[in-house]
């Protein structure tokens, strides 16, 4: 195992790595742990008079396939594009691998509860509707949000195994104290989630391949309960932004064109985005762009199983996506839609 092994990178696939970028000496991208730095950046950009957009999404935003020194993320190229146009738009990105909408909600809340933003950009992958749970680093932000208890209870009822009310018992209270203490003193125990992620990735990419010699990635269908659970959080995001009159720009995340088989069954995927597009374009202050095929199939990575990667692209893809986002925002400004 490599010394600097990080399961997050393992999950991204072969030769795909995650990055954090700076722009004008300010941190402009990061993970949930970086919220404080990113809030500082947003404040600074806004103080300088720039319209600042918070860009939320999953691993596609923070990872580059086959990176070379000097390669940057889409968020940097979006900022560069804006600068080249002498426009005063700035972008700050917050992302987590396999982020679901509850996590996106938590990330959004972590920023907008501390500073204003001029718009929120959301990379909608569809697969994110299938993602369960809430990672630990985001729980403090989630708890701080006004909808915490209701959604947290829904999360528990979605995951059916824990049917008895074991929360809010003396045992839960004691357990939280003990686990916090042990995690604080034992780094290895604190990192157990990462170790599990590594084992899972190893199982999926090596053991299963060895048993079945799988040549193609299986198609994944949305799990109805989980989809509803995530959609509820997406609705909350929209309501919150609408309430604060912050524009929401949703884009259909780039997907490797012509990939066979497609990661999800094509029909429900297209149908969902069609409806989403209609809903958003007919709502005040929200917009939808289709970026599915903007990155040519030659600029994508290979996943850990040695198969074409549906979500992660090379630096060329980042350049294209960054430019596409800034062009889209510029168009909305020209149309006075922002």
């Amino acid at each position: 195992m490599a010394k600097d092994f990080d399961p997050k990178n393992f999950g991204l696939g072969k030769n795909t790595h995650s990055f954090v970028n700076q722009f004008e000496d300010m941190q402009i991208s990061g993970f949930a742990d970086d919220v404080t730095n990113l809030v500082r950046t947003v404040r600074k950009f806004r103080e300088d008079g720039a319209k600042t957009f918070l860009w939320l999404g999953a691993s596609q935003l923070h990872s580059i396939n086959q990176p070379n020194p000097g390669d940057k993320l889409a968020v940097t190229y979006a900022n560069q594009t804006s600068t080249q146009k002498s426009a005063n738009r700035r972008y700050v990105q917050l992302s987590e691998p396999n982020a679901n909408f509850h996590e996106l909600w938590a990330m959004l809340h972590s920023v907008i509860s501390k500073t204003n933003v001029d718009g929120v950009i959301l990379g909608f992958t569809y697969d994110d509707l299938n993602e369960p749970g809430l990672r630990k680093s985001l729980i403090p932000f989630y708890r701080a949000s006004p909808i915490e208890s209701e959604l947290l209870e829904e999360q528990q009822s979605t995951e059916k195994s824990a049917e008895l009310a074991t929360n809010k018992t003396p045992q839960a209270w004691l357990e939280n104290i003990l686990v916090d203490q042990i995690e604080g003193r034992l780094t290895a125990f604190q990192k157990r989630g990462l170790i599990r992620a590594y084992i899972e990735a190893m199982y999926k990419n090596w053991i299963v391949q060895a048993i079945f010699a799988v040549k193609k990635k299986p198609q994944v269908k949305l799990i109805p309960d989980r989809q509803k659970w995530n959609e509820k959080a997406f609705t909350r995001i929209r309501e919150k932004l609408s309430e604060q009159e912050i524009p929401l720009i949703v884009y259909k995340a780039p997907h490797q064109p012509g990939m066979k088989p497609f990661y999800h069954p094509r029909k429900p995927f297209d149908h969902y985005h069609e409806n989403l597009s209609k809903t958003l374009t007919s709502s005040k202050n929200s917009h939808y762009f289709d970026f599915e095929t903007i990155v040519d199939s030659s600029h994508w990575g290979i996943n850990a199983a040695g198969q074409p990667d549906a979500f992660h692209f090379t630096v060329v893809g980042h350049r294209i996506l960054g430019k596409a986002v800034d062009d889209a925002i510029q168009k909305l400004e020209v149309d006075n839609a922002l």
């Binding site: 059916k160 839960a172 004691l174 048993i211």
Partner: protein
Amino acid sequence: MLFNSWGYLLFLLICVGLYWSLPQRRLRIGLVSVASIAFYAMWRWEFSLLVVFSAFVDFFVSKRIAAATELAARKKWLLCSLIINLGLLIFFKYTYFIYDNISIIAGAVNTSLPALNDLGVKIILPLGISFYTFQTISYSIDVYRKTIEPLDDFVLFTAYVMFWPQLIAGPILRAGEVIPELDSEKRFSFEDLAEGFERIVIGLFKKVVFADTLALVVDPIFTQEAALLTAVDVWVAAFLFGFQIYFDFSGYSDVAIGSARLLGIKFPENFNWPYVSNSPKDFWGRWHISLGSWIRDYLYLPLTGQKFQTKSQGGLVGATMDKKSADRALFLTWLIMGFWHGAAWTFALWGVYHAVWIFAYRRFGPLKNLSKRVPLVAIGLMLLISMAGWLPFRANSVADTMTMFGTLLNPFKYTLNGHRVTIYSYALALLLTMGQFGAYYLQKVQLRDSKATIVGLRIVRQALMICAILICLERVQTFIYFQF
């Protein structure tokens, strides 16, 4: 209190330390009583009073039964115990179910009943009520049958009923088995300590590493629309849940057995490789043995007019089948077994499913002799029967269960096209099945060559298991059997 928690390890450490440092047997029994009440109160303290009340009823009633000289009076007091114990169980566990069914019937005649919650009724199911109710009932019945003498010591009786290792999810043990163990003079033994510790590690490994991980795979499968699953999907779902519930419950039993052993108390086994069974009879002699034995002695054998046994071993087996009344008893017993597991028609269906297979194996020659003629085929067939049997147990409704059974019986559904369960789950089901047989074989070899078992190897095995437990241990994961 949950076994798979840091809190329990701390509790255990304190209790075991105190237990062996107390000089007298009486003090130790007192400690077990107090610790058991504290153990239960860590869930909800108010419900620990309910368990104490239930214990008090049977303590009092059993003395009355023993004191009564006439059969009618003995019967009256026994009935009193049954009404109170079963009344509590029915109230807490079945009120919603009964009311919902009445509402459905009322709806059929155009009468609408409000939901119980809308009437301000909110009933919380006390943890382990099905287990401790059966335990207290069996005590009163044993006194009635004169197989045991009633206790004069309420503290000892409380220690028996509430003994924390078996309070919440069994094993369901008889007074004649546990009370002499609790009440005996014991000397500290490193062997007990080592055996107990090893058993706890094995139990936690099963629960935390296997059962909790499998839950993450199984739960999403059962939220899918049943009609869209292929037959292979359904088999994978059944196998994965079958392994999940096995690891969950047998893991719990292992921790219970290990915890008692730390106090020098030996519990009988509750599981014995159920998935290598060659017939339903064999399976129910290996799965949840203490419950099967309880049902056998306090329900099935009395219904068939046969002589009961006095030990929580052997399971639900051993009866003649040449009477129609025995057939009726079989189905009635299994219906009750089903409802004991949960207040839903899916559990009743689960019970009937097993009754049908037991009936078939007893009545039809080819099945009856299968294990003798082709043992491997018998084991394979029984594995499929037992795994398919978990579908009603886990499915969300009777309709879903019937859809899944229909899929299994439809040859056109045996396809890999359009599967909704991932290939990773397929692989997992296969690995677990192979692993189960491999582990069984290895254990047989180990038992045969027990002298050659190296202590160092056991220590390494435990160390690896502890590492795996630490990697997988999360804050609160309940046991499936807690809901029963």
